[in-house]
Symmetry: C2
Subunit: 326 residues, 2 copies
């Protein structure tokens, strides 16, 4: 791959199951432009890759630059990736299996491309751009459709022996808990992800539970979103309040476990659920986590929500591109 | 502290609640001599420190060396320690709070002393002396009265922000599980430690459960040891078999969680419970752990029992002394 050694700008791409978000950043991780288009995974890997390439071209043009001025492109994919070969091994939300994303994009754009799992990329974004690399050990936890995470140890992304470290969502915290997509029971993801929260609400409604959500969305709760949960909560829906409090308690136990295991300096929470419900959930998470961590071990440890919001992915992409081309 | 720069031998000390074990090692971690005496914690920190010093002097003499030929002494204490200052912060089994162990021993012996938590020291012993440092990421889990652990990342002991990383025993895996000494419910330690296993057996016996253990030890099961459990098991006690299988399943879930989180190359199990019951427990632990780790993530990962046995602590002490005086 031709290197654009003198180029100073970076592109970050957040490739999700429903949308592609791309942003152009300068060397200080200031975002100059961003463009969002839908993913259309039904068009298959080739179709999606073509859309990613177009989105990158458009956002570079939007910021009045050319691809020659782009030092590197960092892209996050929702699933298991082989970072060295730049292959997406398995991404259920895209229906992808073993897609050579890096190679295809480099051929298309002639700029070095670097691939990482999306939540690991989010964590890198928070670490370098939001916290300015000032902490040594950081864990990022992202509550969305599922639960993803990234672990930074000694300032570097920790990936373990097979590259799969950080699967926080599949830490069992309740042996007899609900079944998880992975086949086991009581994983953190099966208790506190958007999917878990929605399932709890839907099954209660089926059993006759009253909630404002039914008035808002109809009895089948079609197209329920995290924002709807927030609306119902703020209008005083006691049932929804209880469900969210429970999810926050599970998250607090998971965070407490992670403090006992990793004793990181900072735990950052993000993802759609936290973006919408930070106000309600963060105080509960913090309280429960500190009650579950061993006495004295949380001194100086911060539990916070990221301020990067939707931009965590593209910022992390820029960070990855910067780190990889240094 | 005067350094014994030219000295080539090392002393490892395992300071437990009931016994003090000290060993002399050469630079290849071959043990030349070992001496064991009782701790007598009722004599208070000063009395115990005097006994540790005597045990070290005796074992050095036993190996026909003098203290001048000892490069350093590594000592493991059962509790929270401040390694930099060499203080035992809190060790419930010794009834110690904030004891300046390093300083007191150095004054007594005039050899550099290095302090670490006992299970972290065991893990260092396994890593350097048993596995010859050939793996990058290792987790050691020790099932004894409680559950302790050590985490090695990139060949170095990982201790986190406050030095408390690796508190594997207080990872909650069963929210509604039995109460733990830490005040929470369903910690790994409350489910699979010797204390937890004994409590399960004792409470069942109180409710009328029949077991060979009652024939062996009387109805109050006085002085029950891990070895008694093994005897009952091997004589075909179905109840004890079930209790141990359950503890192995809990351990398997904990190990599965650790693989999902840390993805280490090797997980080593040790401690009194494993020493006595490896044959019965290890196959269950391995099976359950692999069923709980995400598909594909256990490839090449080894789950094994340490062969160091009782010597894990003193070997780790020698490793710590060697690493600290290099």
């Amino acid at each position: 791959m031709a290197e654009n050694g003198k180029a100073t700008h970076l592109v970050g791409v957040d490739l999700g199951g429903t949308k592609i978000l791309a942003g152009v950043f300068d060397a200080k991780y200031e975002c100059l432009a961003r463009i969002k288009i839908s993913t259309k995974p039904e068009r298959g890997p080739e179709g999606v890759i073509e859309r990613v390439a177009r989105c990158v071209r458009d956002v570079v043009d939007e910021s009045d630059l050319t691809l020659k001025e782009i030092r590197g492109i960092g892209i996050g994919a929702p699933g298991a990736v082989n970072t060295e070969e730049g292959r997406v091994i398995f991404a259920p939300n895209l229906s992808w299996k073993d897609v050579p994303l890096k190679k295809a994009l480099e051929k298309e754009l002639e700029v070095p491309v670097f691939l990482e799992n999306d939540c690991k990329l989010h964590t890198m974004g928070v670490f370098d751009a939001e916290l300015k690399g000032k902490v040594k050990h950081l864990i990022g936890i992202f509550l969305g459709t599922g639960v993803g995470a990234g672990i930074i140890i000694d300032g570097k992304l920790y990936t373990g022996f097979n590259g799969s470290a950080g699967e926080v969502g599949h830490m069992v915290i309740d042996i007899d808990g609900p079944e998880c997509g992975c086949g086991n029971r009581g994983c953190f993801e099966a208790l506190a992800s958007r999917r878990a929260i929605f399932r709890t609400i839907q099954s209660a409604v089926k059993k006759g539970q009253e909630t404002l959500l039914v008035d808002m969305l109809g009895k089948d709760l079609a197209d329920m979103r995290s924002g709807d949960i927030r609306k119902a909560l703020r209008r005083g829906d006691r049932f929804v309040e209880k469900v969210i409090e429970q999810a926050a308690e599970y998250t607090g136990i998971a965070v407490g476990n992670l403090i006992n295991l990793f004793n990181p300096e900072v735990i950052v929470l993000g993802g759609g659920i936290i973006e919408q419900l930070e106000h309600e959930m963060l105080p509960v998470i913090e309280k429960v986590a500190k009650a579950h961590a061993l006495p004295g071990t949380t001194k100086g440890i911060e539990i916070m929500a990221t301020r990067l919001g939707d931009d965590a992915g593209i910022t992390g992409g820029a960070v990855l591109a910067m780190r990889s081309t240094k």
